[in-house]
Symmetry: C2
Subunit: 498 residues, 2 copies
Amino acid sequence: MFPFKTSIQFDRKSSQSLYLQLSNQIIKYIKNQTLAPNTKLPGSRVLAEQLNVHRKTIVACYDDLLMQGWVESIPKKGTFVLSNLPLLHQQKLDNSAVSDFKIQTGFSFYKNSVFPKKTIKKTDGFMYLNDGISDSRLTPIDEIARTYRRVSSKKNVFGHLSYGSTYGNDTLRTVLVDYLNTTRGLHINKENVLITRGSQMGIWLSSQLLLKNDDIVVVGNTNYTSADSTFLYQNAKIERVLVDENGIVTDDIEKLCKLKQIKAVYVTSHHHHPTTVTLSAKRRIHLLNLSRRYNFAIIEDDYDYDFNYNHAPILPLASHDTNGNVIYIGSICKTVAPVFRIGYLIASKEFVDEASKLRGYLDRQGDALLELTFASFIKSGDLDRHIRKVMKIYKQRRDLFCNLLKAQLGDLFEFEIPKGGMAIWVKLDSKYTWGNISKVAKKYKLEIGDWQRYDSAKLKHNCIRIGFATYNEKEIYELINRLKNTMDEIKTQTATAH
Amino acid sequence: MFPFKTSIQFDRKSSQSLYLQLSNQIIKYIKNQTLAPNTKLPGSRVLAEQLNVHRKTIVACYDDLLMQGWVESIPKKGTFVLSNLPLLHQQKLDNSAVSDFKIQTGFSFYKNSVFPKKTIKKTDGFMYLNDGISDSRLTPIDEIARTYRRVSSKKNVFGHLSYGSTYGNDTLRTVLVDYLNTTRGLHINKENVLITRGSQMGIWLSSQLLLKNDDIVVVGNTNYTSADSTFLYQNAKIERVLVDENGIVTDDIEKLCKLKQIKAVYVTSHHHHPTTVTLSAKRRIHLLNLSRRYNFAIIEDDYDYDFNYNHAPILPLASHDTNGNVIYIGSICKTVAPVFRIGYLIASKEFVDEASKLRGYLDRQGDALLELTFASFIKSGDLDRHIRKVMKIYKQRRDLFCNLLKAQLGDLFEFEIPKGGMAIWVKLDSKYTWGNISKVAKKYKLEIGDWQRYDSAKLKHNCIRIGFATYNEKEIYELINRLKNTMDEIKTQTATAH
């Protein structure tokens, strides 16, 4: 007879009821056939006495086992472990050491080489270079959280809590039509707007709908690496063309078009990622005309439209497109804070319809409450006020950062002061390598990050992108100081070596 | 000379500054070559007088045109439209009728036949059948919005506003480990948890990593259609096996395994979607043993674990899996409200790592503030309290719905009272068709919905799934009444026809 008294343990402090604790333990013994098929379980009164619990606990447990199909009840005979239950082949799992147990994958799956290999773990006291991120401390979080709560306490809020449109919240779509037509010179209606979770979802959806095996997508010979990876994930063929001080060289795109059918061109026309240059008016018109002639899509990722320090923003390609060639992608994440995953994809109704269907299979729908929050934030003018406020601050930071970098390290680093955005494109003196800087900088608690990603085309340009917007004045001094110390040590190394 | 005075209009009520209004209009004329290349623009003083604006407005406008590259400034000569600017080939766009302008797609893209064709538009006064959705009116929205605001006003909140982990918020992952180990009998650590935007994202990620062209995935011969579509989108080959009153028939899966290599089995083991049956203990063990022997993945979609009326929830397959064969998918959306897009994918670290990387390309990351909100909601016990509260209500609704349906229409509809979930599986008398009911029901302001989706395998079972949880008592009476009126009319039709 199975020794229930010694085999069953109750945790009376647990939130799990006793009958479930008992039931789970009995199942464990049935699974490993310690309680073999056909074993008769003790009567409820007997077991209750043995285990010192109420008889109702045993009855509830047996009911549960019966419902779950582990035991069967034979009238006038009793409760038996199911006769034909197979043995579960399990690895040994020591319950006392759950936290040490590692599940090994029991099946094969596709690993994708296009994804970056590692992410950098953050250590206290370190400073991290980034490629142009806003400063979270400037987020108007109080206003946004208050609006979120206000939106959530409206009488009609229940209509927004269930399954909603895969196009995004209707109010936000309407607000965005006005906002984008006014600020970006677009000519769109609601049917042209899909609300996304940020620019990346826009790139993903476009890539899925435009590219399959070996379809050609054209990008700059320096390019935003996440876009590259997204296209490569689709097994698209990437053709890289030159980027100079006027942006991507459209003459080279024309040459390509004459040779092969291209499906799409990906551009960050406002400030090229990573080099920060603006696509010239002449090339804009050229690119639009090419897209019309050769029927390709222009994926225009306008990730930093809002940040211009020397001039008004330049209207996107999409504002000149009446031929339906441009898929215009933008987000509020970059402008307000990355945590608020709201962006948009603007295109012909036909394309938006298909993208919206596909979106339903990624994450079903967006967050209607957050979308309503931002509809209100945009409509009230709060978004514009926020942009004006942080622009002043980022301009000061750009100027300070560039002045200090020039003064302290101008002999080693070459750069243009960017007209907009949150980053500068820095060329290192050819005597030195970012690989070495990256190593030495760690001593000074400075993390350069994945500098190799800026040269996926192996041009050996020796440049990286450095964001300046995240740091306040004090932090900018500190960062340049750490970089200076790093470079001083490297100079000494080099001098000693000679 | 170009007639600036008559060609330029200012809208002084617009929020757009005058210089930008001017700049945008001049660009329009340059683009269509009304202002041809090499045209000299008037001096700023002259144009200011003509247009009756301050000279500064003209200077700002010319600066803007210069920055954007539309004009060039030749010292001592003046400002000229760029000499070599190509003509932009545009369709005519009448500015006065922006809202009537339809963009036509100017490129080709892939349309996917796996997506459902249409969505049903809602009309006031209509009642809509659904396949088992919670009642939004029971959402503890005040508590959640209050928690969201509290989370957002914490001192350290800024650390959560920027780019975060693609695995999801760390606090929520930790809370979920405890919660799932306690409630579901899992044996997981944080490394096994990926926070998703709900079950659908879990299915999407699994499908992307497991299935490529012609890889085999096994599903029930009735199945959750969104899962089917997700697999078909990957060009996977779907093999359907019988589902009976004990769930998916694992003997049939074994037969398949002996014939071909299968990559995955998709199951809704707790309550099969759509038929609501529970997978028996014997088949659970059999399926786990098969997955171990034949190295396939079990995608266990536990979409309604929380809703059981007659017994304790049945532990998922994942609770018995120590071989790393189960990918366990669940969500909080179904339990609380679909608008809160938070779910989880549980698997081996290796698989979670890869899924997390891929997730970074869909939507970059989740909403850390909402994730923190739900970490607090779960940890405080509020989620469990909410579940207990709504379970009582849904049980009453199930009983009322089933009683009324039996009493009013028991001669036409056959069904079992479901032990859990939010829907019943209803078989229609073979004399009638859902197609006809769907048509007639509209007269009585009742929308049956896409009844065909329940029979994608063309079994002609004449069943559909009807959710009961969304409606309160009064609404249940009303709904059954409309269905009764519909059926009465159909019976009369049929009688007349004979």
